[in-house]
Symmetry: C2
């Protein structure tokens, strides 16, 4: 069903603390018109990402602070509905960064064709998009695990964590995951194959649970959350252990003076730890390999993913806010429309 | 002057907060007798080191927690006064880890001959001992700076920091140091050649002072202190910057629930930072090169050092405690006795 106007969700007030649906504003604007050299996209699916939170406080994060009144950031899978660009034709399915709205104009930069052979088109902004690439680049390129090592992953039922754990296991590591709630933990153990799962909500003493699950210590911690779980992980790291800092969802909603942070920096010395923060977009040289390898793993069933698809653009703000309460279970996507070419569904 | 008994300073009560001289106990015991295969050492100089603090809380640090009643840890320069070991002869000057006492028995392990050609014997536990080796291994091997990079060093007038800054400058970096007080800052700038010094006691806003001194940001931070200065440094790191975590003197006296820590872990992601903690004793493969290179630099005046020598074993506890108040200015050593062979003085 094609909207007659361009429905948009704007970021409408600087956030402090937990994001609220009222921080967003719903507007309807005319469908934009592409100039020569541009194309018009109709968004089919858009994402909601914890990493966006940093831009919404008015502080510069790893991307510049967002201005009030801008369309909310999101990754997108779209159909080309009008093209005035020689390289793109109507009906093609493309992935990009086109935000919470029905339509967007693109000049073709930061746009890539979605290969329908790789799987459902949603995977282009899921397991074969930023989340999956992040897991692949982190676990395979920046801090690969050796066979037999113990790899700990937080947010292990999430889009990045589930892929990180499966990749570590493919590479021969023993994997221990952390997630919130029995359902996510059971799923991560059964479907993603984590050797052990810790339910941080039930555990109470996460550090003690980690000591129990990792009696010889953690060789590599893939950190998606920060906060108290990071501190519990550091307390259980093995000497010469490594920490890949990928996300800090437990910290994003805290004002600067309330951050938990990493308390025991002396442990970095005592345990000879290395911590490395990264953003996958810096490592595009690995994407072709990652796509090829991961799409093959998906086909052969070695890599499994789960999407949490919310119906309708109007529900995007609530889904985004709920994510910080752990309401998400899998890659967060909003379904807006279906492609007009049925073979792409 | 040779003591007739073995005077020893014991660690006598678990410390909380700032160390106090009363946490140590003075005892006099018989001079120990070496067995076959052992040798008797008379300590000439012993060190006092911030890194020892970690062992004195009863918690395991990068060395196991120390037990009450043990002789206080220290590095030592000693004379062999009796040998029942084929490899060592009376009159040799050796460096080791023989604590705050007049005499110690050694089996020859973890002992090395002091080469008098390399400089005064104190340098064996100073600029050519652990502090200097730490600076060398850190700045040259683990995280070498490139020419033109901005290297920030805290505790820049101290034994490790002063060497780290000079080595970074030798390798072509621009060096910015942090120290407490005008005297130390002036000295570090004039004698150690730091391009800029920040007096953290006078600066108030260290982060602002860093922004002023490092307008393009910090490429590499050699951290000897942790705490608020680490947080100010992180706020001023350049993208893809690196932090070498060598010491955390601002944190050692804090109970676990009062640690400052690293607050903004998200900055590790945003700025793509790497932090690495290290202990120089893990990297003995570099020591021969370090000794050769640094002793040459010392001879040619490229590497300068300063020792803070306290007279008499009885003053060691006060010197150790004062170090945490910034009373030290250079490598902290206690002079106990002179060698009987005058050419070694």
């Amino acid at each position: 069903m094609q909207a007659e106007v361009n429905r948009q969700v704007l970021f409408s007030s600087l956030m402090t603390g937990e994001p609220k649906p009222e921080d967003f504003e719903w507007v309807e604007t005319p469908i934009p018109e592409p100039d020569e050299g541009e194309l018009l996209l109709r968004n089919l699916y858009v994402s909601y990402d914890p990493g966006s939170r940093g831009r919404l406080s008015g502080r510069n994060s790893y991307v510049p602070a967002k201005r009030v009144g801008e369309v909310m950031d999101a990754q997108s899978v779209s159909e080309v509905v009008l093209s005035r660009h020689p390289d793109w034709r109507v009906g093609e399915i493309v992935a990009g960064f086109h935000g919470w709205q029905d339509y967007a104009v693109s000049n073709g930069r930061r746009l890539r064709r979605v290969d329908p052979d790789w799987g459902p088109i949603t995977t282009a902004i899921g397991v074969l998009g930023t989340p999956g690439l992040t897991a692949y680049v982190g676990m395979r390129k920046l801090m690969p695990a050796s066979p037999g090592q113990t790899v700990l992953v937080s947010s292990a039922a999430g889009a990045v964590g589930s892929a990180a754990g499966q990749i570590a296991a493919i590479d021969g590591a023993r994997t221990v995951g952390i997630a919130g709630g029995r359902e996510k933990c059971a799923y991560a153990q059964e479907v993603y194959g984590f050797d052990r799962m810790i339910d941080y909500k039930a555990a109470g003493d996460v550090s003690g649970a980690l000591a129990d699950a990792c009696p010889e210590g953690v060789d590599l911690y893939f950190d998606n959350v920060g906060g108290p779980i990071l501190n519990a992980a550091v307390a259980n790291m093995k000497r010469f252990g490594r920490i890949l800092v990928c996300g800090q969802i437990a910290e994003y909603n805290l004002e600067p003076d309330r951050l938990t942070g990493l308390r025991d920096v002396t442990a970095l010395i005592g345990k000879r730890l290395t911590m490395r923060g990264f953003v996958v977009l810096d490592h595009a040289e690995f994407f072709a390999e990652a796509w090829q390898t991961m799409s093959e793993w998906i086909k052969t069933g070695r890599l499994t993913y789960r999407e949490h698809i919310v119906e309708g653009l109007e529900n995007a703000p609530r889904a985004f806010c709920g994510m910080f309460q752990g309401e998400n279970f899998g890659r967060g996507l909003v379904h807006i429309a279906d492609p007009s070419t049925p073979e792409n569904i």
